[in-house]
């Protein structure tokens, strides 16, 4: 069996690690909102996002929503979290991975019309990795299954 001195040290260490975990757990819970890197579109529509201040908005670019009014550098598109949509306007160069149906994070603020005016757009890569042929066959499959 374990010697008493060792057992005591083991218990002390266990208490220390448990204590540290609980303390940090509570700290993280109370800072939970600050740890979010971006607001979702539902938060923004629900009025949870700050007014007249810069914040980040994340979501998926809705397919077919990307347009360039006036043929300029300005891009307008709609972001969604599959529940609420927010229109975003951005003037500048978009990252490589920006495309319709892809997640992005935009930094900017809301104007009076409720349009999000972005100063910076970052692409949010998803966790899927596959060769192009597999992607194509997946697409075909979803098309055929929809047709049935």
């Amino acid at each position: 069996m374990m010697k008493p001195a060792r057992k005591k040290r083991l218990i002390l260490i266990a208490i220390m690690v448990a204590g540290a975990s609980i303390a940090i757990g509570f700290a993280l819970r109370s800072f939970n909102d600050n740890l979010m890197y971006f607001f979702s579109t539902t938060d923004v529509v629900g009025g949870k996002a700050p007014k007249d201040a810069l914040f980040r908005l994340g979501g998926m670019v809705i397919k077919g929503s990307v347009e360039r009014p006036n043929d300029g550098m300005m891009v307008r598109f709609k972001l969604t979290d599959f529940s609420k949509d927010v229109t975003v306007e951005y003037t500048g160069i978009l990252p490589d991975l920006f495309r319709e149906g892809q997640g992005i994070v935009a930094h900017g603020k809301l104007n009076n019309q409720g349009v999000f005016v972005a100063e910076e757009v970052l692409a949010k890569h998803d966790e899927n990795y596959m060769p192009p042929e597999v992607k194509d066959s997946l697409k075909n499959k979803s098309i055929t299954s929809k047709g049935q």
Binding site: V17, A20, L35, D96, L97, L122, A123, M130, P132
Partner: protein, 253 residues
Amino acid sequence: MFLVPNAVVRFFHRMASPPHFYVFTECVMPWLIVIFALLSAAGLYGGLYLAPADYQQGDSYRIIYIHVPSAWMSLFIYVAMAITAAIGLIWRIKLAEIIAISSAPIGASFTFIALVTGSLWGKPMWGTWWVWDARLTSELILLFLYLGVIGLYGAIDDKRVASKAIAILALVGVVNIPIIHYSVEWWNTLHQGPTVTKMDKPSIHVSMLIPLLFMALSFKFYYLIALLQRVRIELLRRERNSQWVKTMLLESK
């Protein structure tokens, strides 16, 4: 102690004795190096040449064959360091203390590699080198924890006292490990969610996954090799006045 076979217990008891450990590791070292070389050759050939390009990122995604195994190792080595440090603290086993401190620089290097490769990939893919989201920030804290362990150990002259001090620091820092792993699920982050280490099926095509697993295994062997070399040196340094070191050095002359 009931579930472990006697032979295994005896092996660990023998390994805890420095002279046995020194001789044994010298014998296994060439094998470890051969296995590491084969695994990393297979992993790199598979990852950089055989694996197909990604449907969205093209060839840029191939950085995962370094980035992901390094990030896994940064967590794995920290846990190994904390466990051996705790064993050293509770049972006062000298070898466990040495394994703990010898892990720190290797873990710090893997953390650094994970951060740098991630940053290099982030610029073209996300559009930025760095963001302060939960995943990137907690991984940076991990690097500082490693550096803190190394610095604390160096600041205390009595190495047995130093080992106790770093054990406390390493054990408190363990809290950060689940935070790093779950950060992408608990909070909104720019960093993507887990691809391989999730309950569901991995979201990576099998032709890309196999080289990744080879690389992960080869990094484990690299850790073992670098660790054993460091432990042997630290062992000689700490035991320089003991009889077995003197006899061994005289015999080798």
